[in-house]
Every structure is written in C-alpha cells, then in structure tokens.
C-alpha cells in the first residue's frame, strides 16, 4: 500500500470516528453558532440601518440661514421668488438680482444672516451658493410649468412645507452620487408617508399613473 493510500484510509477512519463523536459537540457549536448569528445579524442590520446613512451622507450647512416664513409673509406667495420665465423654464432658487429687488446694501433686518448676506454677497455682487435640497440628477428632465401650470399642482405636493420653515436645515449630500438626500428620502428604507417625502423615478411614475392613467415613457424625462 502506498503512503498516499494509507493516509487516505486513515483519514477516512478518523473522520468517520469524529463524525460519531462530534454530534454532541455539534449541538454546542450550533448553539453558539446561533448566538453568533443573532449577534452578527443584529449588529450588521443596525449598522446598515443606522450607521450606514451617517457614513453615506455628508452634512453641509447652507451659506447662511434663510427664513421662508419671514420672506413668504413679505412677498405674499412662492411665485414672487420662485417663478416661471416667459419661455416656461423655472427660475429655481432666485439669483442675487431677484433678491436685490427688495434687498440693498443697507442691512434690512437685525439677524446675523442678513449681515452675512449683505457683506459677503450683495457687496461683492456674488451669487449665493445655495445647496438645493430637491435637485434631481442631471439625467432627469423636469418641467415645472407642465406640472404647476398645465397639471395645476401646488408646490407642497412635491416640496412639502418648506415654505413654512424658519431656518435652513443642513443639506445632506450623498457621497457616492453627489445628490441630495431628499431624492431618496429621509427614511433609509424608502418608506414615505407624504407625497413629498421621496422623489425617485417610481414616485413620478406612481403619480403619473394615478393622474394620467399611464406611468409615462422613458424619453419624457430622460432625453
């Protein structure tokens, strides 16, 4: 008999022997294994749910605080600052020129934010580099006019009650995509309670299906 065959034979006997003797050991091992499984499962699930979003998003403060309530009271409505241009395109966040319709180099209010605005931006004629919570990826075409004018929707349906905020919450930027957290929604599971909680493609499609009877075609938004 060759050495190899010997080894093979011995090996098989050993393993067979261990197999019978190992059943009791297995039980203990399985018990520990279950505990390890549960511990690892809970730890990873919690880190995937609680820690992961903290790692995925970086928080950025807006250049200075903006009080929507104060401005909406003065201006009367959203459209004064967030308007449609003649060609139907949307102005988005107003440019400095629009701000200067009311503001000037004389500080209007008493807040520190107003002072920052005037000193850093108005005086230097520099646009305020706002972070836009609701900016969609560049691959998405979206027409505000089609929704608000033709569809008769209000701002709140998609933007929520931002007009009632008195301060600017931090902007959370996805480190991978570079886009705002508001697109996926605050809830990391993607669960939403309100129509404005999440703005993914499925949300567009669901609303289109409900309102128009069809979810729409690819090229309508991805041109």
């Amino acid at each position: 008999m060759s050495e190899i065959e010997n080894k093979a034979e011995n090996g098989s006997t050993e393993s067979a022997g261990e197999g019978t003797a190992g059943e009791a050991k297995d039980d203990k091992g399985l018990g520990l294994g279950v505990i390890f499984f549960i511990v690892a499962f809970v730890a990873c699930f919690l880190s995937g749910t609680l820690l992961f979003p903290k790692l995925l998003y970086s928080k950025k403060e807006q250049p200075f605080n903006f009080d929507h309530v104060l401005h909406a009271d003065e201006a009367g409505d959203c459209e004064t600052c967030h308007s449609l241009r003649e060609d139907g395109s949307f102005t988005g966040i107003p440019k400095l020129a629009t701000c200067l319709d009311c503001h000037s180099e004389d500080v209007l209010g008493e807040t520190e934010d107003e002072a920052t605005f005037v000193e850093e931006y108005v005086v230097n004629e520099k646009e305020v580099p706002w972070h836009v919570y609701s900016r969609q990826p560049d691959s998405v075409f979206f027409s505000h006019a089609a929704h608000t004018e033709a569809g008769g929707m209000d701002c709140i349906s998609c933007h929520g009650h931002i007009g009632e905020s008195t301060s600017s919450r931090p902007y959370e930027e996805n480190r991978i995509t570079g886009y705002s957290r508001d697109i996926w929604g605050k809830n990391i599971f993607g669960i939403k309670k309100h129509s404005w909680d999440r703005m993914k493609m499925d949300d567009c499609a669901a609303c289109h299906k409900k309102e128009t009877g069809h979810q729409g075609y690819c090229f309508q938004c991805h041109k």
């Binding site: 499984f37 241009r85 991978i176 990391i188």
Partner: protein, 709 residues
C-alpha cells in the same frame, strides 16, 4: 461551549443576513447606478435663464447675422439670425462653431513682448508706451513712411482707424490682404474707373456662368450664396461651372466645363469673340465702351477664335460657341469670377475678361446681372489734423501697390524699407504664397506689432502683440462686402465680458494715437472706440444699435457706366505656372476649412472628410490616368519648384488629367493641438508669379511631379 469554526460560520452568515435585510444593499445598488449614469467627471451644462442676443459674425467677409443663445449670461450656442438681410437665418459651420474661438488654446491672453525667441507678458500701459516710443523715433528720423500696416480689408471703422493713424503719422503704406472685395474693386477700377466696385445679383440671375467661383464652397457671402443656389431650381435658373476639378459647385451645376488650369481668361475672351462675331452683344451697352472696342474685337478675331481658344483651354470649340450663345441669349445672365473662395491669387486679365462678358451682354446694373456702383460709404470721418511731417510722408509713393509687392521690396533691399509694421486680422505667413519668404521679409522689419487674438504664424513673428477681443467680445461695424448685391452694415456686439486681458482693436489704436501726441493725438480725440464709432456712423447709428443692421441700398443701381476696354485691348500676357514639371498643382477651397484671417476651429476641422485629410496626412486629388503606377490611397512624393512633401493620392476622375488638387487652409504650425500639424499648407509649395501690368500675384498653381514615396 467551545467556539469553533461553525460559530464563526454563524457569525458570517448572520453578518451577511443582517446587511442583506438592512437597506444598505438596496441603497448602494441604487446609488451606484445613479453614479454610473452621471459620471461626476463628465461636464454638465449649467442650467439657468436662457436669453438670446443678436450680433454679426465677422469670421469671414460674409457678415451673417447671428443669434447667440446664452445661459445665465454665458454664450453657449450660435445660430443664424432669421431677420438678418444677408443670411436670413442660415449659418455655416464656422459661424456655429464661433464660440470655440473664445477659449482657443492659441489665444493671446495678455499683451506680449518678444524677448529673444520667447514672448513675455507685459501690461497694456507698457506695451503702448514701447510702441509709441518706437514710432516717435521713426517720426523723428523724418521717415514716417517707414511705418506700414497690413489689415484684412479696406472697409469698416477699424481699418479706417488704422488708415487714419498711418495718414496722420505720415505714411501711405496701408495694405489690405488679397480678398474678393479687393479683386472686385480692382476689376471695377480697371474697367469702370476708380472708386467703383462690382456686385453680382445671384439671387435673381437666370444664367450664372461661373469661372471657378465656389458658389457653395465659401465664395462671396457663403450663406447668401447657398440660399441663392438653393433657389436656382425653383427659379429655373442655370449654373455653368468652369474649372479643372469637379468641385461641389460643379457637381451641383447644370453643366461642368473642365478647363486647363490658368486658361479661364482665354476662355472668357474666346466667348467674347463669339459674342462679337455673331453680333450677340447688346448694342446699347457697347456704346458705353471706350478704349478701343475695335482693337479689342480685332485681337479676339485674330487670337481667340473658337478653335484657337479650344486649343489653349481644352474646351471644345463647339462648346465655346454654345456657351456664348446661351449666355448672350439668357434673360438675366451673369458671369462670375474669383476662383474658389475668391480670395486666392487672381490675374487682372482673368477678372477683366470675365467681367467684359457682363459688359458685352448689357446686364450691368440690371436685375439678375452685375451691379457696378461706387464703393459704399457709411462712415463719416472728421478731417485729419496733419502736420508738415505727415503731409510730406503721406505724399510719398507707396512701397508697393499690393502686399506681395511690399514683401518683394523688403526681401530685395538690404536696408529696411519698412521700420515698423502693424498687422491686424491677417495671417500672411500662412495664407500668402511661399510663407517662408514672407517670414523672411517680416523678419527684416525691426519692429512688428500684431493685433491678433491668436498666436498664429504671423503673430509669432511680432515684437509686440496687442491681443484683440474676438468677435464675440467686441463692438465693430461689419459691412457686407463680398460681391453681395445689396449694401448692408451690421453691428457686431460684445455678448460676453472679455475672457482674457484683451482690448477692442479700435481702442488699442486710439491709445497708441494718444500716446504719440501732436497731430496724431489731435486726430483721435475720442475717449473710446464706441464713442468714435457712434460719431462716425452718424445717421445710421440708431438703426445699427437698435436693429443690429442698416440697409444702405438694396435697389438695382440705375446709372449707366462707361466701360474702358483698353487693358484687355492691349493684349496682356497670360500668367504661366512656374516650373518645368509636367503636372500642375492647384489649390482647392473647401467649405469646411478657412484659408484667410482666422484659422479653422477645432469643430470644423473634425468635419473634414478623410478624402481631404486622413489622420495628419493630406490627401490630393489626381486623375487615375495621370497617376499610372499608383493605387488609390498610396503615399507619394509631390515635388514642386518650392519643395517636396509626402501626400496620399486620391484617384478622382473628377479632376482633369495632368492636374493635382490640394486643399487650402491646412498645415498650420502654431501652438493649437486641435488644428495645427495637420496636413500641409499648399502655399508652402507655390511661389508667387507676378502678372505684368497689374502687379498682382496671379499664381493659379505651380508645375509639379509625383514619385513613389
């Protein structure tokens, strides 16, 4: 309990299951897909307010109205301007790529001064001071005529300011580059008298007899010509194209008449002979002829009979008679000159002979014919303030009549005949024949100032560069000039803040003039070029600034003009191609390339076919009968008396046997990776041949041979 590998297995499975159940996997998948669809390194156009501004393109003499689309004030696209009375909404590929010139890698970003072989940056103040100092020295030495200037065109306020600066300084040496405009004026001067120019009413003509004019290859005002040609079928008008190669225009014509290169003048005279012989001419029109119509007729009957003309030109005698009859009997015939784009070398004999056809059939100043009228003037310059030095200097004779003569004088003399040279919007070191001798001549001038926006071949030779705004950044009046039937002035407007530390050339001249003090400064009393233009434009300023253009005249001129036939009656010699080789190399104009002024844009050069430029190698057209022993696509050595280059042969039955066609506008050597070092500059292979009598460089080509590479 013992921790064994199964425990760890439990740990691993638990971890995987935990992650799998958490939203992490789903979220990362989603994010990575978004990431891959929006690569962060791919530039994305910034969103913003869309506005349109109208202006005028001044890349070529075509002067088309353009509409510039801007996003939040940044120009992003150029389109044709629908209401502009030259191009009516059309635009060519060079115009739509015009924004690329703003960010061209060869742009001069700030004034430069040559130090040894290199340029160093200097301030505007220092540059102006250096120029004023040098010019003052020249003036002090009592030879102000030694300041010369080469610009692209005669018309327009910027050229006017250069001319004014020279005159008040005391120099008559103001030169323009050869252009269709200059040839039109020259022909008009030879046949009708000084101060006149010629235009062709292609939009209405019923029979266009084109002597090589590339009507859809950039001749005249290109977009206007495209439109006139496009409407030809509807108007049932005919186009006969006479040239050695089946160009796009020839392919589009009703008939292509192949002709031996350089014999176009002979064919035109042969047609004149048939018209006179068969009495097909307009007898009222011939009463305006002076200078020896009989002598001219006798010459034609002797030397230009159909059979003799056929022998010279290679066009059948029966065809010559047929063309003459069709042309003379057409309702609105017009004969058009200016081979290719019309700005290359031409002989006055050819220009005059072709235009004599128009004069003979009596279509001068008639709808669909040729318009002869005074050069249009729309700017009112106040009188110059002259001092004795200026008067004396300005009264001296010009060093040469044309740029090529100036170059010749410079090279012939051991003493500098020119002490200082200004160059604006011209690149003679690339676009004139034999650039090597041009560089040599410019090198002899002690002080050269270039106002170019780009560090092109000629700017490289300068001592000081005062960079100009591009046409996107500057204010300028742009007169229509290139043979257009109506006279329109457009206003190029700045649509963006200057990208670099450049100036409007008009402002730069005013600064130089002010620094020179004395009578020169007194002649330039404007604070800015804008003030100057507004003042000079006078009555038309309102419509220029409000509508963007002013139509000076669009009516058919009514005057009857005299025709002086003496130049042709004296039987001027036909220019022959230089050299003893068997073949003839001719330059070809291609709409996708630019051969004068600015160089082609990165976008436009990418549109050139690989039958013209393959990789970095130039492709030449040759008839398979001429290139026996070669296959299509073979490399070959092309030799002319000026040098030898390697080319790729394209077998083309659409070119006459014995002729090689090489495109113009390639072979740039300056620092622009998109445009330079591609192909060969055909001008490197052709030397100037001066036409006796006119002094023009009339080298239509050069003798050449090919051999195995």
């Amino acid at each position: 309990m013992k921790v064994d590998r199964r425990s760890f297995l439990g740990l691993g499975i638990g971890a995987v299951a935990g992650i799998a159940v958490s939203p992490m996997g789903m979220k990362l998948t989603d994010d990575s897909s978004i990431w891959t669809q929006n690569w962060p390194w791919t530039p994305v156009p910034v969103d913003g307010e869309v506005t349109y501004e109208s202006s005028v393109c001044s890349l070529c003499p075509g002067s088309c109205g353009i509409s510039i689309r801007k996003i939040d004030g940044r120009p992003v696209k150029i389109e044709g301007l629908a209401e502009y009375p030259v191009n009516y909404g059309g635009a060519c590929l060079h115009g739509i790529a015009g924004l690329q010139y703003l960010y061209d890698p060869a742009r001069v970003k700030t004034p430069l001064k040559k130090n040894g072989d290199k340029f160093e940056e200097i301030s505007w103040d220092d540059a102006i001071a250096i120029i004023a100092g040098k010019l003052a020295d020249i003036r002090k030495s009592n030879s102000p005529e030694k300041l010369a200037c080469i610009v692209d065109k005669e018309q327009g306020s910027v050229s006017g300011l250069f001319k004014r600066l020279l005159k008040t300084f005391g120099s008559p040496n103001f030169y323009t580059m050869p252009s269709l405009e200059s040839y039109l004026e020259l022909t008009a001067e030879a046949l009708h008298g000084e101060g006149q120019t010629i235009a062709f009413d292609l939009e209405n003509a019923s029979f266009v007899l084109s002597f090589g004019a590339g009507i859809i290859e950039g001749w005249g005002s290109p977009v206007n010509c495209f439109k006139a040609n496009a409407s030809r079928k509807e108007r049932k008008a005919k186009l006969y194209q006479i040239e050695p190669r089946l160009s796009n225009t020839a392919a589009n014509a009703d008939k292509w008449i192949p002709i031996k290169p350089g014999t176009e003048a002979d064919l035109a005279l042969g047609i004149c002979a048939v018209i006179l012989e068969k009495k097909l001419f307009d007898s009222t029109a011939t009463t305006n002829f002076k200078g020896g119509l009989n002598k001219f007729g006798a010459l034609l009957q002797k030397d230009y009979t159909p059979s003799k003309t056929a022998e010279i030109t290679g066009v059948k005698a029966s065809d010559i008679e047929k063309i003459a009859t069709l042309f003379a009997k057409a309702k609105m015939p017009v004969a058009v000159f200016g081979k290719g784009r019309g700005d290359g070398a031409q002989s006055l004999k050819e220009l005059a002979a072709v235009h004599t056809l128009n004069c003979l059939v009596g279509n001068i100043n008639k709808k669909g014919g040729a318009f002869v009228q005074p050069k249009f003037k729309y700017l009112e310059f106040a009188d110059e303030v002259m001092d004795s030095i200026a008067d004396k200097g300005f009264a001296k004779t010009k060093t040469g009549n044309y740029v090529n003569q100036l170059i010749e004088k410079l090279n012939a003399s051991s003493q500098p005949v020119v002490e200082a040279l200004f160059v604006y919007n011209a690149n003679p070191c690339h676009s004139l024949h034999d650039p090597k001798t041009i560089k040599q001549a410019i090198g002899k001038i002690p002080f050269v100032v270039n106002f170019s926006s780009f560090l092109d071949e000629t700017a490289m030779e300068a001592d000081i560069i005062l960079p100009s705004h591009t046409f996107i950044e500057r204010l300028e009046d742009v007169p229509s000039s290139a043979g257009l039937a109506k006279s329109v002035v457009g206003l190029t407007k700045p649509v963006i803040e200057p990208v670099f530390n450049t100036k409007n050339p008009g402002d730069a001249i005013i600064l130089i003039a002010k620094a020179l003090e004395g009578n020169v400064a007194q002649s330039f009393e404007w604070e800015t070029y804008e003030e100057c233009l507004e003042g000079m434009a006078g009555e038309i300023w309102d419509s220029l600034s409000e509508d963007g253009f002013a139509i000076i005249s669009e009516e058919v001129p009514s005057e009857s003009v005299p025709v002086n036939i003496s130049f042709l009656a004296n039987n001027p010699a036909t220019v022959q191609a230089q050299g003893d080789f068997e073949l003839t190399l001719i330059p070809i104009d291609n709409m996708r390339l630019i051969s004068a002024g600015v160089s082609v844009s990165p976008f436009a050069i990418k549109t050139v076919s690989d039958k013209v430029l393959k990789g970095k190698d130039i492709v030449v057209d040759i008839n398979p009968l001429t290139a026996r022993g070669f296959k299509d696509g073979d490399y070959a050595m092309l030799t002319t008396p000026k040098g030898t280059v390697t080319v790729i042969l394209s077998m083309n039955e659409g070119i006459m046997p014995g002729v090689i066609g090489m495109v113009e506008g390639l072979g740039h050597t300056f620092d622009n990776k998109y445009v330079s070092n591609k192909g060969i500059n055909v001008n490197d292979l052709i030397g100037p041949v001066i036409e006796s009598g006119s002094g023009l460089d009339a080298a239509f080509g050069i003798k050449a041979k090919i051999s195995k590479a």
